[in-house]
Structure formats: structure tokens, C-alpha cells
């Protein structure tokens, strides 16, 4: 029986199987054979950890919940691929999972260079199995070509004492000891084999690579390196950075885009342990004067996140507001006229105080944002949105807290007035107390609601302003304001230490997110139906897929800062896997 082998598939299988004969041989690390022209390289140090995670039944279920994954499985190409895999399972007398663990069990290196040159080096654990698979592939491909009356394109030749193969005349691969080397072009394979023969310069000897390797450390499951010294000269890269530059992105990313301009290299470390996947990006880029607003002096940093009941997310930032705004002309010269208008408006709210020095300058750089699901008194609105609050620390609360409250009340007055102009319901302003703290709240009276059983979205908002010592809290609801008063009183009793060197910390509780999504099911499904033009059944299925993913997640956290003279960004995803 002949099996039809598509060319791409043939190359993929060859990639994992082109071992002719294996002799145990101690080889130097694959990186030593990688030419210095490589722009990016990924090295998988512990492939079995990744294989185990990828084959975890919980993760499989998570993937199967996504429509894209299901579509990919149903695609004719995948069905054909699966049939071929089954064929080779029978030929080799093993199942693909076991074969994958043996073939991919060693280290793996994948690199890319200029002009779409790619090379892969795989250190296999079972060279015998690879040899058998390679031999089967060669036999099958030759039989397939003969059966169709086509030319046999499989060729082999010797270079630097190594037998090199090609399946299609373009790719080239070879086996050295238990290492498979596969290159997109034969000159790439030649460069690798030249390095093996100690001729030429390897990437491993470059200063940038060495610095990145030292920053990443030895414990990574996998890690990647990219040489930015070449990339950042590219017009497309510079244009991309400029296009992404706007006040909100610059503020939230702590000027990370500008850090990228000064970076020579960037590295990514991937870790996986106890159901938690962690990606850390490191760079030697440093913030400039323009973006110094987010980079704390030694020992300082963002404060830890506040914790409240039903918390959905917490974000804590180290941002010098006045420092950020004072750089506006350098950071966003094209937006100056718009910002002047904003500044003038703010000066009205703050009774003529200068926005940069006399308003923003009154805030300490520790800013915290909390999002939490709401608990409603009586009927809940038809669409439920989480409560949000910003917590500032004031430098001179005795002077500035009343200024802030005055601006707050002006804002509410303006809101009520403009809503009144449109004949819409206004807010009632009140001064309740919680735990001995009296604060300001505004709310819509349910007595004036159009339909008290189906409250509109505005009933998600009961904005509150809390002045509590050095703290100033602006919350979208009084419920969250009350919870924050409790949390801040605990914090006052035991003041936290700043997280040294960190300017951004984000945590997301996936269970709360899933609960929030679930209570809004009907609105979200309806929105999906009308915006995508799909049936209710399909919209429900897609919703269930998203919900399943959220339920399989436990938490997501992100931190960013300046650690050990490197800019570092870490994303951690904890999974709920069986």
C-alpha cells in the first residue's frame, strides 16, 4: 500500500526522523553550531515538560472548547495527517504519543535568520526509532513517486564528512550522532556543519547572546533570544513603535515601547510548574528621561494589590502622574492642542490650579485600581458590570482632599445638568458613613426607573469619593468603596512594603470573571448573534467555549519592572487542570 505524502507533511515528518544510524556521541550544545547571523532562536531545554503539559487531558479539553481548534481538527488536511500518522504508528509498532516522547525527548533549537533562513536542531533520545522512521519515510516517498511515474527527488551527498539529505531539492538535513539538523536551505546546513568543523563564528560567542543567557538563567523549560540591534534599524519596526505610541499606551505600558528602542536584545523565558505557565520577557533596554515617570528609584516600587471581596482584578502601578504629564510635549507633540483643551477643562474643575504641579503633583506615584463583582440590593440591572475603583495616595491630604471633593461635586453637578437637559434622570448626592468614615456618594433612585424589574445599565453605578487620611478613593459604587475602606484600614494598621523595582502588577481572578460572564449570558449571546450573524444555538456554543476556557483558568497575573539591571515583564497563567 502506498501512502500519499504531501510535501509539507513529508518535511515535517522528516524533521523528526532523518536519522540514519545512531551512534552514542557526546556533542557540544546545538547553539555552538548556530551561525552568528541568526536573528532569533528558540531553545527548548526540557521538551518533556512541554509535551506532558500539551498532552494533559485538561488542556486538551480546554483546546477542544475553542471553535478554531475544533475546526482545525475537522479540516481535511488534519484528517489526512492523522491517517498518515496512523499508518506510521502501525509500521513502527508504537503510538504517536510514545514516539513523540522518544523523538522529541532531548533538547531542541529552532532559529531564524535573514531572508527567511530557518534551521532546526533536535537532540533525540531514541536514535534507533528515528532511523527506522526515516527509512520508512524514504521508502514510502520513493514508492509514491514511482507509483505516480514521478522523478525520485530524494538525494544524499557528503559534506564535511557528514551524509546530507534532501527530500525536495530545497530543504537539507543531516544527522550527526543523535542530533538531527534540518535547514530551510542547503547553504544554512553547510554553515552549521562548518561550525561543527570549527570554522566560522557562532551566535553563542556573541556578547548580546551571552548577556541574555545570563539574564535568563538555567532553570527555563524553554527560552528564546532575539537580536534587536539589527531589527530595530528596520523602518517597519520603527514605524510600528511610532504607530503604537499614544498617551494611554505609553502611560499603561510604562513607556515600554521606548525601552524597545534602546534594546540590543530581548529574551523570553518559559517556565511550567504545577499547572502554572510563566512567560518572562527580559531586555537590556533602559527607560529614557521621557519615560522615567514609571521607573522607581532603588528600593521603591508599586504597592501590593488591595484585596476586597468578590475581586475580579487588581492593578497596581508606580506612575508619577506629574512626571508623565510634564513630558507630554516630547512624548506626544502631535496631540498638544487636544491636551491643552483637556488641561483647560481640568483647571475649571480644580478652580484654576495648574494641572501638572498643583493637581497631578499632589498624587504619590503609587496608584491602585480594583475591579470587583457587585452585590446588588434588590433587582440587578439587566446587564451587570463590575465595580471599579482608583485608589490614590495624596502628598498633602490636609490641603488637597477638599480640592478633590470640590472637583468631584462639580463633575456630578455637570453630569446631572447635562442629563437634565436631555430629560434624563439625575443622581441624588448623599453622605453615608462606613466604619467611621463619612464619604460622598451619588446614585439614581430606583423609584424613577422605567422598569424596576429590568433595571437599565446605569443602575450599576453609584459613584463614590472617599477621603481617608492620605488615601483618596474614587469608586464606581459605594459597595466597593465600603470594601476598600475596610481594606485600607487594615493596610493602615500594617503598612505594606513597596514591591521593589516593579512598576506594574496585575492579577485577574478567572473564577470571578467566569461568574460575571455567566450572569450576562443572555446579553452576550444576543450581542454575538446580531454582530456575527449567527444562530442562537451557535452563539450559545461559542459562549460555552469561552466560559469553559475561563473555568479552566485559575488566575492570570502580570508584573513589569526593572530587575537586576534588566527590564522584565512576567506573565503567569495558572490553570485548573485535573
Amino acid at each position: 500500500m502506498f501512502v500519499k505524502l504531501p510535501r509539507v507533511l513529508l518535511l515535517v515528518l522528516a524533521l523528526a526522523s532523518a536519522v540514519s544510524s545512531a551512534r552514542a556521541e557526546k556533542l557540544p550544545p546545538a547553539i555552538d553550531w548556530l551561525p552568528e547571523q541568526a536573528l532569533a532562536v528558540i531553545q527548548v531545554e526540557q521538551p518533556k515538560v512541554i509535551l506532558d503539559a500539551a498532552l494533559n487531558p485538561g488542556l486538551q479539553a480546554l483546546l477542544e472548547a475553542t471553535p478554531e481548534y475544533r475546526q482545525a481538527l475537522a479540516a481535511p488536511q488534519f484528517v489526512q495527517f492523522r491517517a498518515i500518522v496512523t499508518y506510521f504508528e502501525a509500521k513502527l509498532g508504537t503510538d504517536w504519543r510514545a514516539a513523540a516522547r522518544k523523538l522529541l525527548g532531548g533538547k531542541l533549537l529552532l532559529a531564524a535568520g535573514p531572508h527567511n533562513r530557518v534551521v532546526l536542531m533536535l537532540d533525540t533520545e531514541d536514535a534507533e526509532l528515528l532511523g527506522k522512521l526515516h527509512s520508512e519515510l524514504v521508502t514510502t516517498a520513493r514508492a509514491d513517486a514511482a507509483g505516480k511515474g514521478r522523478e525520485d527527488k530524494i538525494k544524499s551527498a557528503d559534506y564535511q564528512g557528514v551524509e546530507c539529505w534532501t527530500f525536495d531539492g530545497r530543504e537539507a538535513h543531516a544527522i550527526v550522532g543523535n542530533r538531527l539538523i534540518m535547514a530551510s536551505h542547503n547553504e544554512v546546513l553547510k554553515a552549521v556543519l562548518d561550525l561543527k568543523a570549527n570554522s566560522g563564528a557562532s551566535l553563542a560567542r556573541s556578547d548580546f547572546y551571552k548577556a541574555a543567557k545570563a539574564a535568563v538563567g538555567d532553570s527555563a523549560v524553554a527560552w528564546a533570544f532575539a537580536n534587536l540591534s539589527e531589527v530595530k534599524q528596520q523602518p517597519a519596526f520603527i514605524e510600528g513603535l511610532n504607530r503604537a505610541r499614544n498617551p494611554a499606551v505609553t502611560f499603561l505600558s510604562a513607556g515600554l515601547l521606548d525601552v524597545a528602542r534602546t534594546s540590543n536584545w530581548v529574551a523570553a523565558r518559559i517556565g511550567y510548574e504545577n499547572g502554572a505557565a510563566r512567560l518572562t520577557l527580559l531586555s537590556d533596554g533602559r527607560p529614557g528621561d521621557d519615560t522615567g515617570f514609571a521607573w522607581a528609584k532603588s528600593g521603591d516600587g508599586a504597592w501590593p494589590n488591595l484585596v476586597v471581596p468578590r475581586q475580579l482584578a487588581g492593578i497596581t502601578l508606580y506612575r508619577d502622574l506629574a512626571g508623565f504629564y510634564s513630558q507630554k510635549d516630547k512624548l506626544f507633540p502631535e496631540r498638544t492642542s487636544g491636551l491643552v483643551f483637556f488641561e483647560n477643562m481640568m483647571e475649571i474643575f480644580f478652580s484654576g490650579r495648574k494641572l501638572t504641579d498643583e493637581v497631578m503633583g499632589e498624587a504619590q506615584p503609587q496608584i491602585r485600581l480594583v475591579a470587583a463583582a457587585q452585590k446588588y440590593d434588590g433587582a440587578a440591572p439587566v446587564v451587570q458590570v463590575p465595580a471599579l475603583a482608583l485608589v490614590f495616595r495624596m502628598k498633602h491630604p490636609e490641603q488637597f482632599s477638599d480640592v478633590a471633593e470640590e472637583a468631584w461635586q462639580k463633575g456630578l453637578g455637570l453630569l446631572n445638568f447635562t442629563r437634565g437637559q436631555k430629560a434624563l434622570q439625575g443622581m441624588i448626592i448623599d453622605k453615608p458613613s462606613h466604619a467611621g468614615v463619612t464619604y460622598s456618594v451619588a446614585y439614581f433612585s430606583k423609584a424613577s426607573a422605567e422598569d424596576r424589574e429590568h433595571l437599565p445599565i446605569r443602575f450599576n453605578f453609584r459613584p463614590a469619593l472617599v477621603k481617608m487620611g492620605e488615601y483618596l478613593v474614587i469608586s464606581s459604587t459605594d459597595g466597593l468603596a465600603n470594601d476598600l475602606i475596610d481594606a485600607l484600614q487594615k493596610e493602615k494598621a500594617a503598612p505594606p512594603r513597596p514591591v521593589s523595582g516593579v512598576n506594574t502588577l496585575l492579577t485577574l481572578d478567572a473564577a470571578q470573571a467566569a461568574a460575571l460572564v455567566e450572569v450576562n449570558r443572555s446579553a452576550l449571546v444576543a450581542d454575538n448573534m446580531v454582530k456575527k450573524g449567527i444562530s442562537r444555538e451557535r452563539a450559545n456554543k461559542e459562549f460555552d467555549g469561552v466560559l469553559m476556557i475561563l473555568k479552566r483558568l485559575q488566575s492570570v497575573s502580570l508584573s513589569m519592572g526593572d530587575k537586576s539591571q534588566h527590564t522584565e515583564l512576567t506573565l503567569e497563567v495558572k490553570l485548573n487542570l485535573p
Partner: protein, 455 residues
């Protein structure tokens, strides 16, 4: 299709015109008439529905379209809830409402109800440009839908308390001291007796009857202390006190039924030639008895005139008819929020008719810009991807019907979209555009034909 002079409406015998059509050798029931009925009583149909309608014959098919389907109440309840989640009371935003209304037109188990809801929307002309509130427009459309096939009198009474209608007529305040005549004028000049019948005194007297009815805080309110309880005389009828009395008096005037029937005639029969008073009088006379819409529609949809060259392709498709006809033909669903925006750019923004008399319609739909925009919309609707998501797949549908070769595909698409009624020249254009695996291109070719722009 037998061609005669479709514009000679002055020579039509009313008795023949409104008698029930019986298929015969000269005017047989065929696919073209089935398509004509489904376009006029709904927004078009797919292949299976065309075939089912053809098999049913005209009488059964019309009865089916007029009957209230069992699932309609549940459908309405569900869609009311969908709309409620998309339209907030504090917002002028109506994109969601437009999207859901278009979706109803595509999926309603009784398309005729949506067709009439759209007609009354056009007839009443209330607009979000004046109401500036999505919730008010949603309630307005619900009122139109609730009474679309019922009593016209009840519809008018409901509209006299509908905020969006009153705001659209500039009636946001009506006090006894200076009653605003906006709604009263619209009631008499547009909704009942028509232009030139009521005098300014009639309008002022009618306005007094509606005094004390307010739209404040985006809500309709009645303030009894502001009612004008004195007797009024409107259209020669005296001793009228309330707004409801004025509506009843206007409906009793012979011009009212003629005015409404004339507008319905333009919507269902022909907009190329205005009907004579004699031609529409039999319909007006029966309508005047109880102002029930459904029996009137039954007469129209079963009439000889409806199945005659005087009606066939005697209207230009509105943008909604153009787009929904294409979507329904391919049994598909598309994202209707962007569709609402595209239809607005073609001149038919749901909830924003430009005048109290609705859209100009007819030749007003067509100019160089809109023809190009219609072609682009058709191409976008059947494109493999893009803003309509590639949801419509003419090739698969044709293949399912066995139309795989270019010749078979071309014939199938002409039958589906134009029920085979196409001149040889146009047929050759479609054939030339139809190659294997190019169903989408062939649909684009059909959609730019003059015949496809007629309904």
C-alpha cells in the same frame, strides 16, 4: 410573463382588479408569481420556500402568509428581550435596534407582520433624529408591530400616546394655554384624511383635544388639569372632547380610508402609476367599515391586479428589500448591525426616515452613487470573508441543488433570484460571469441587473 401596458391604470376595471385571482392559461400560476408574492408580502425567500409557495397555489400561499403562526408569540418575546439588552434608556444609540429589527425581518415566522411594521414606520415617519432616544424608538416600533395587522384605529390611539411619535411631530409640550398643533396636524394631514382636507381651524381644534398630553423626561404623561374639556368641532363633526374623539371623527371622514389605501397601493401594487379614485374605492369602502388591516391585505394579495403586469416589477426595491432579498435567497444570516449602517448609507436608515411622510422611495432610491453602493453591498454580502463574515455561500447552495456546471449554476441563480424571468441579453451577461466555482461572482452579476432592482 405576459407584457401589457402596466401604466394604464385608468382603464382598469375595479371589479376585475379586486376579484380573487384564479390561475388560467393566459395567466398561469408559476415561479415568477410565487417570487412576486414572497417579495411583496415579505422580503424574499429561499429556494425551498419558493418551491413550497409554487406548489401551494395562490390562495393557500396567501392564507399561509396571513395566518398567525404558532411560534410567533415566543419569537416576539425572545426578540423583545434581545432588543432590550441592546437598547438602553439613556442612549441615543440605535445601531442595536436596527440590527435586531433587520434580524427579525430575516427570521420572523410571519414576515408579513414585519413588512407591515416597516410600512407603518414609513407611513408614520417617527424618527430618532427628533426622539434622540433608543428606548423610545424601540417602544415606537413595538407599537407599530403590535398593531401592524390589526385595527388602524387602535394603532392611531396608541400612537397618540407614543413619545417617539409625539416628539417627531414636535409635540413635546401641550398645555391648554397654547396647544401645540404638531401631532394634530400630522394626524390630519398624514395619518388620516390627507393633505388639503383639514383646515387650520380643524388642526387647532384637534390640538385642543390633545392638550394635557406631554412628553417629559422622555416619558409620555397626561396631566388632567391641563385637559381642554370644552367641545370642539373637527372636520365638520362637533361635540368632540378627547383626542380619541378626534381620531374617530377623522376615521369617519371618507378621505381617510382612501388616503391609507392609496399609500398601501403604492407599497403592494405599484408606485409607477397612481391609482384612480375609482380603482381604490372598493378597497377604501371595505376598509372604512372597521379599519382592520388584515382583510384589506387579503383582498390585495389575492387580487387579479396583484398578479398582473400592472403590479409585477412596478416598484423599485428599497435598500432593505434589495439586501434582505439577497440574504434570504441563500438561506443565510449575516451580521445585521453593520447591515443597518450600510442601509443607512444607501438612504434607508431604520428609525430615521427623513420626513414625516417617510422615505421618498421609488426613483428616489436610485442614482449613480446608490447603484454603485448597492453593487458593493451585494459583493460584500456574498464575499467569502469581510464584514459579513462570508456567511452566505451561493456555491454550496447551488451544489446542493445539483447546479455544478457553469450553465446549471447560471440557470439556478437566475431562477432563484429572478425566478427565471430575464431577457436574453441579461441572461448572457450572467452566463458570461458564471464559471465553475465562481458562484459569488455570478451573484454579483445578477445583483447589478436592472431587473434585480425591481420588486
Amino acid at each position: 410573463m405576459k407584457r401589457s401596458n402596466p401604466n394604464a391604470h385608468d382603464t382598469i376595471d375595479p371589479a376585475w382588479a379586486w376579484s380573487a385571482y384564479q390561475p388560467n392559461g393566459a395567466q398561469p400560476w408559476n415561479l415568477a408569481w410565487a417570487g412576486h408574492l414572497l417579495r411583496r408580502a415579505g422580503f424574499g425567500a429561499g429556494w425551498r420556500q419558493l418551491q413550497a409557495t409554487l406548489a401551494a397555489g395562490p390562495a393557500k400561499a396567501v392564507d399561509g402568509l396571513l395566518a398567525r403562526p404558532a411560534g410567533l408569540a415566543g419569537f416576539t418575546r425572545d426578540f423583545d428581550a434581545f432588543e432590550a439588552s441592546a437598547v438602553g434608556p439613556d442612549s441615543e444609540e440605535i445601531d442595536g435596534l436596527r440590527g435586531w429589527w433587520l434580524r427579525r425581518m430575516l427570521e420572523s415566522p410571519q414576515p408579513l407582520e414585519e413588512r407591515l411594521t416597516l410600512f407603518w414606520h414609513h407611513f408614520i415617519g417617527a424618527s430618532n433624529v427628533r426622539a434622540q432616544n433608543g428606548l423610545l424608538m424601540r417602544k415606537h416600533v413595538q407599537v407599530l408591530r403590535q398593531h401592524a395587522l390589526g385595527s388602524y384605529q387602535e394603532l392611531l390611539v396608541a400612537l397618540s400616546r407614543d413619545s417617539a411619535t409625539l416628539l417627531s411631530c414636535d409635540d413635546d409640550e401641550k398645555a391648554t394655554s397654547s396647544p401645540n398643533v404638531g401631532f394634530a396636524r400630522a394626524l390630519l394631514e398624514n395619518y388620516t384624511v390627507g393633505p388639503g382636507v383639514a383646515t387650520p381651524i380643524d388642526q387647532r381644534e384637534a390640538a385642543r383635544a390633545f392638550a394635557g398630553r406631554y412628553v417629559m423626561g422622555k416619558q409620555y404623561r397626561e396631566v388632567p388639569s391641563q385637559f381642554d374639556r370644552a367641545e370642539k368641532t373637527v372636520l365638520g363633526r362637533s361635540k368632540l372632547q378627547t383626542g380619541e374623539d378626534v381620531i374617530a371623527a377623522a376615521l369617519a371622514h371618507p378621505a381617510t380610508a382612501r388616503n391609507v389605501v392609496r399609500r398601501l397601493y403604492g407599497w403592494f401594487i405599484s408606485e409607477t402609476a397612481p391609482p384612480t379614485d375609482g380603482l381604490i374605492e372598493p378597497l377604501a369602502e371595505s376598509f372604512r367599515r372597521d379599519y382592520q388591516v388584515l382583510p384589506l391585505l387579503r383582498t390585495i394579495l389575492r387580487s387579479n391586479l396583484f398578479y398582473s403586469p400592472h403590479a409585477y416589477r412596478q416598484r423599485i426595491k428599497s435598500p432593505i428589500e434589495f439586501a434582505l432579498g439577497l440574504i434570504l435567497a441563500f438561506d443565510g444570516l449575516v451580521p445585521t448591525t453593520p447591515l443597518g449602517a450600510d442601509l443607512l448609507s444607501l438612504g434607508q436608515g431604520l428609525c430615521t426616515p427623513p420626513l414625516l411622510r417617510g422615505w421618498e422611495g421609488g426613483k428616489g432610491w436610485i442614482n449613480r452613487f446608490t447603484l454603485l453602493a448597492r453593487a458593493n453591498l451585494a459583493a460584500a454580502l456574498v464575499a467569502a470573508d469581510g464584514r459579513y463574515g462570508g456567511n452566505l455561500d451561493p456555491g454550496s447552495l447551488a451544489a446542493a441543488q445539483g447546479a455544478r456546471s457553469p450553465e446549471a449554476l447560471s440557470k439556478f441563480l437566475i431562477d432563484l433570484l429572478l425566478q427565471g424571468d430575464l431577457c436574453e441579453h441579461s441572461r448572457q451577461i450572467v452566463k458570461a460571469a458564471t464559471t465553475t466555482n465562481a458562484a459569488r461572482r455570478a451573484v454579483e452579476a445578477v445583483a447589478v441587473l436592472p431587473e434585480y432592482h425591481l420588486v
